[in-house]
């Protein structure tokens, strides 16, 4: 094998410029894939991180049927106190769950005594909420407190409303809401901060204390719209969610109907499609790389065979077995692919390292949110890109190599 590789390398170096150009083309392709995969996965991670850590959390549990009407924030499809208690016990005992936060979600009228508008609100337990969505604190501007999101009697207003109505931290506002029976209640609150807009569901919601929400909605016993749950390791999300589903799905209410429904973050936000699109684009870039390698190696190897017909005839005449002639040309394609892949891997990871040092800012979403990406690529991805290139190089050289091995020595020796 070593002797075949040595001869293959010598033959590749015979046409230095052609080999260099083809190797460079492959290297650029590999580099492009590595940089693209690194950037896109960093972008994906940033989006998913924002969505899950600043708003949705990793998965949510609702009363069965709530999600179908979630846009209306229905108050008649809430988890009862007993159901929430049962759910809390289950979540506390579930391995892999680190935090969960009950929320009361509702719509209300917001007034600053001069203007009135609609607002979507989340009643939260501040300590639980920050444990379930740790980036929520970073979204709060002009925060009244540094140690806690808000206190009872306070409200965090969405940026878009606060700016429009010129409401500042410390101002007093009135919230008026209908409860599930249709009766109206109003309460005054002090603004404890403004919540930066975020793309996706819940990204333009306000927050108040869960106890205040229960009072405003005149709940006799506290009912819960949703429970946001955070897992210890995002990689294990599906496993944890799967385990919980199998526990929750058989549970029924007194009417013998399913009690809970569980949805992971990707089922709750349309931005999951963006994530999927990134995956499809990554596949597309890989397909382009395969095409580049296939065409360039095939081209080089075909030219190589056509230029060396007499030489192949000589090798065959001397008694070189056809299989060995084929191996010689496959080894040339393999070496070309390997050299290009390794060079591309070095350049690509080097490029990612530089991008990591400089940081890449990307504005994304309707909220013009700026993500500072830290592009990185898993070693497995680099290895897989290199293996694809080497595999495709071998594949591309098979046809020319087989042609070389099939040449009749007597015909080949006559070739001019």
């Amino acid at each position: 094998m070593i002797k075949i590789m040595r001869l293959a390398l010598k033959n590749l170096l015979r046409y230095k410029r052609r080999t260099l150009l083809t190797g460079l083309l492959i290297a650029v392709g590999v580099m492009a894939v590595i940089v693209f995969v690194g950037m896109s996965s960093a972008f994906k991670q940033a989006i998913v991180g924002q969505i899950t850590d600043a708003s949705l959390s990793h998965f949510q549990v609702h009363r069965k049927g709530y999600l179908a009407s979630i846009d209306n924030l229905p108050l008649d499809r809430m988890l009862t106190a007993a159901a929430f208690e049962k759910l809390s016990g289950i979540l506390d005992g579930t391995k892999g769950v680190t935090a969960f936060s009950p929320r009361i979600r509702f719509g209300a009228m917001l007034s600053n005594y001069a203007q009135t508008t609609n607002v979507r609100l989340n009643g939260i337990d501040p300590a639980r909420e920050i444990a379930a969505v740790p980036l929520l604190a970073s979204r709060i501007q002009e925060a009244a407190h540094t140690d806690i999101l808000l206190k009872p009697g306070e409200v965090l207003l969405p940026e878009v409303l606060a700016r429009g109505m010129e409401i500042k931290t410390g101002d007093t506002i009135v919230l008026v809401a209908n409860n599930k029976d249709g009766s109206v209640n109003g309460m005054t609150f002090q603004v404890a901060g403004v919540v930066e807009n975020l793309m996706g569901p819940g990204g333009r919601d306000g927050y108040l204390h869960i106890d205040d929400a229960a009072v405003l909605l005149r709940m006799e016993t506290k009912e819960i719209s949703e429970v946001a749950v955070r897992v210890e390791n995002f990689e294990h999300l599906d496993a944890v969610a799967g385990r919980l589903r199998s526990v929750l799905e058989p549970m029924t209410n007194p009417q013998n109907k399913p009690l809970f429904e569980l949805h992971t973050w990707d089922q709750l936000t349309p931005f999951y499609n963006v994530v999927r699109m990134i995956d499809v684009m990554t596949l597309g870039v890989r397909a382009i790389l395969i095409a580049v390698v296939l065409i360039s190696v095939l081209n080089v190897m075909m030219m190589s065979v056509y230029e060396r017909v007499r030489e192949i005839g000589t090798l065959a005449a001397m008694g070189t077995p056809p299989g060995r002639i084929m191996a010689l040309f496959v080894a040339e394609g393999f070496s070309l692919g390997l050299a290009g892949a390794l060079a591309g891997a070095v350049f690509g990871t080097g490029m990612l390292w530089i991008l990591n040092l400089t940081g890449v800012d990307i504005v994304f979403g309707g909220a013009n949110q700026v993500f500072t990406l830290a592009p990185a690529i898993a070693p497995g991805e680099v290895i897989s890109a290199c293996l694809i290139v080497v595999g495709v190089s071998i594949l591309a050289s098979l046809q020319p190599a087989a042609k070389a091995a099939r040449l009749e020595p007597v015909e080949a020796l006559r070739h001019v």
């Binding site: 002797k3 015979r14 005449a317 008694g319 007597v410």
Partner: protein, 233 residues
């Protein structure tokens, strides 16, 4: 004992709708160790006959026996193995591998065809390079050699595996008269030193003079032969 036997061998090529006879009912025998020439004008069938002996081509009719093997019956793989074991080739255009040095070119049959270990290869290559007087040039690549030197390397390559038979197709055609003469003398000396049978084709009268056994071909037919059991006198 004859190393090559042609028994009523014919070779017909089809060119479009026309059949062209390259060899017509040739019967000849080449004795082992003979310095043999196939002579005749261009298109007389010399190269076709050499290709038959070298199992590079098959007869349309008749039998070709080389070293006791009916070579016309060998398939591609068997033919390659037979050539690798028993035959050496010297070509008109030398056909050295341009990317290999002189040493590596001579080493090629032992390395790539016979899979001989390095320790055994080196002395054999050195011996044959010394025999053709190319030891000093062993590190050079073919592009750095003269035509005569290239042909000497080609002869060394043909002999390094100690074959029974070396086939040389117009080995002096691309050399000047003096160099051609030297190459023929070298080939003959190699025959004496290695005991190898040499069969070469030529239409150069000065080269023919070196032959001990000669077969004249014309238009595919053997018109005169001086080998054992040769064709028509």
């Amino acid at each position: 004992m004859d190393i090559v036997i042609f028994d009523d061998v014919s070779k017909i090529y089809r060119t479009g709708e026309v059949d062209v006879a390259a060899l017509r009912n040739v019967t000849l025998r080449i004795p082992r160790g003979a310095f043999t020439a196939l002579v005749g004008p261009s298109g007389s069938g010399k190269t076709t006959a050499l290709n038959m002996i070298g199992c590079l081509d098959r007869p349309s009719a008749g039998e070709v026996t080389v070293a006791g093997e009916q070579v016309g019956r060998l398939d591609r793989r068997q033919g390659a193995a037979f050539r690798g074991r028993n035959l050496g080739f010297v070509f008109q255009d030398f056909n050295l591998l341009p990317v290999l040095t002189v040493f590596e070119n001579v080493e090629y049959p032992l390395l790539m065809i016979r899979d001989m270990p390095g320790k055994q290869r080196k002395p054999l290559v050195e011996r044959v390079l010394a025999a053709v007087g190319m030891t000093d040039q062993s590190h050079k690549v073919p592009a750095q050699l003269s035509g005569g030197q290239k042909q000497r390397v080609a002869i060394a390559r043909a002999l390094v595996g100690n074959p029974l038979l070396v086939l040389a197709d117009e080995p002096t055609a691309n050399l000047d008269g003096q160099t051609a003469q030297r190459v023929m003398v070298l080939m003959k000396r190699m025959r004496d030193e290695f005991g190898t049978t040499f069969v070469f084709s030529t239409h150069d009268p000065r080269v023919m003079e070196q032959a001990e056994v000669m077969f004249h071909l014309n238009d595919g037919s053997l018109i005169e032969g001086s080998g054992s059991g040769g064709g028509e006198p």
